[in-house]
Amino acid sequence: MSATAEAPAVPRMPGWRKALGKARSNPTTLIGAVICLVILAAAILAPWIAPHDPAEQDIMTRLAAPGGDYPLGTDQFGRDILSRLLWGARISLTVSLGAIAVACVIGGTIGMVSGYIGGRFDLFVMQVMDVMLSFPSLILGLIVVALLGPDLVNLVVAIALTAIAPFARIARAPTLALKERAFIEAGHALGYSHLRIIFRHILPNILPEVMVMTSLWMATAVRVEASLSFIGLGVKPPTPTWGGMTRDGFENILDSPWLAVFPGFAILLLVLGLNMVGDGLRDATDPKLRNE
């Protein structure tokens, strides 16, 4: 018989399925998920549904008010705001998804390994994470992007850096409890490698907690990306970004307030949607709340 067949079954998080069902019946999660999906669809379908080319300039229709050919008006170069918003969703989603994926993998691994090894190593690693947490994320992101130069990859790196420490903390806490459990001890007795125990037996059990955080941290990542773009450290123009559009609008706020209002609202909506999903998932997976 192979070692795999003898392996103790990985005990799934109790109620994981039930939690998902509960999250689905929670109106907050549902509304949040709809908002996120609509924005995701808008980003994917932008080339087909955008009424104009987002970079197309028309000097004759500079700063046009919303309505007619331009449902949300035009900016100082006569570019269509709606089309730029649809294309801008791509940058927001790409950067935040990328950054959180990187932070989740690196931070999660650090947290699991640190908790699993324990002792002084764990103490040291957590001290380092505490130091990383003591940098305000916007300031850290700002400086990293400024030093590396503003482009898509560097934005992902900068925002990921600010989120590694929280993911390490989230992954470590349940690892500490799990490693004392009988099925992990059984793994040791069967002579499994540490890597196998961490990634095959601990990882599936901490996944729900980590996944819940991903949604909440994606909301933060969207906000940080928009903030960096607003400061002028986002993906370079003429690529439309929501933060950059808000900045352009802010500079013309006396003549055309809608220029800043619409992209600002788009950012708010996406962050709100992600927060709603994260909130619902957290309530559904929280054992203290589950039985209420």
Partner: protein, 313 residues
């Protein structure tokens, strides 16, 4: 108590050293020659060499590290590469504006968040609670520059109740207060929302405890149970969150200062970024982290004062 304070102060030392080390590394791993980055590609070799000597970049790494750490610990952060003035002096000149803004937002966050959170907890699942939850979720989702712009449009440009530019005269308290209101609301909105949520859940948790039932059974009036027994215990997580959030406030003040055109650390940091003033950036990063380490220390000490169990641990 003194022993507790001493222990906490000692524990902050390695954090500060680590912060300095991280700042040192971040600034040094920039790709390319900092001298050329500062001067631009057209700079002559002599000019670049002279700048390297001036910045101490021609010295061995460990000498640079030692100089950096010992200077920082004695409050010497060097001089701005652009203005030539000491960094501490430049920062000192605008720090009151940033402190005004951060403190005002914090006070606002606590003054709004705590009562609303308690109110929501006491009316669990009723209309008030649902409204508080929805509003706090929306408040939490507002990027600071978006709330700033919306407030500016409404109260600054449309109703003209508050000034649009926040460059306050520091010697005039009324002017200072008048100009901090709008930025503080913009910055404090998220904090108020967050504190509402934390207070609500801490209060719900505390009210479900056995000692609350005991107090009720003894015949203690409900008002007293809530405000004395419940709130005292619910306040601990709230204090932790306030402490943690001050760091975020300090970071986000950059955006508020841009929107409201206020002088402050944020304006300096953006200026330093645009002018590639690396000395200033390095100094600012250390000052930001020092501020946050100090806030964490104060939070820890406050925690000790409020909860006797913490001191004994």
């Amino acid at each position: 108590m003194i022993w507790f304070i001493a222990k906490r102060l000692l524990a902050a030392v390695p954090t500060l050293l680590a912060v300095l080390t991280v700042v040192f590394i971040i600034v040094r791993i920039v790709p390319g020659d900092p001298a050329l980055v500062i001067l631009g590609d057209q700079a002559t070799a002599e000019a670049a060499a002279a700048l390297r000597t001036r910045l101490g970049l021609d010295q061995p790494m460990w000498v640079q590290y030692w100089n950096f750490v010992s200077n920082a610990l004695t409050g010497n952060f060097g001089a701005s590469l652009v203005t030539g003035r000491p960094i501490l002096e430049e920062v000192g000149a605008v720090l009151p504006h940033t402190i005004d803004l951060t403190l005002a937002s914090m006070v606002l966050g606590v003054v709004v968040g705590v009562p609303v959170g308690i109110w929501a907890a006491l009316h669990r699942n009723r209309a008030i609670d649902v409204a508080a939850r929805v509003l706090s979720l929306i408040g939490l989702s507002f990027p600071v520059f978006v709330s700033g712009i919306y407030l500016l449009l409404l109260f600054g440009l449309y109703w003209r109740l508050f000034p649009v530019i926040g460059n306050a005269d520091l010697s005039d308290p009324v002017d200072r207060l008048h100009k901090v209101v709008l930025p503080a609301v913009a910055l404090g909105l998220t904090m108020a929302a967050y504190i509402t949520r934390v207070t609500r859940s801490a209060m719900l948790h505390a009210l479900g405890e056995d000692y609350i039932r005991t107090a009720r059974a003894k015949g203690v009036p409900w008002r007293r149970v809530v405000w004395v027994h419940g709130l005292r215990n619910a306040s601990l997580p709230v204090v932790t969150v306030v402490g943690l959030y001050v760091g975020i406030l300090i970071g986000n003040s950059v955006l508020t200062e841009i929107v409201f055109n206020r002088p402050g650390l944020g304006k300096i940091i953006v200026g330093a970024l645009n002018q590639r003033d690396y000395a200033m950036l390095q100094g600012l990063m250390v000052i930001y982290c020092f501020l946050i380490v100090v806030v964490n220390l104060v939070t820890d000490l406050l925690y000790g004062v409020m909860d006797p169990r913490v001191k004994q641990a």
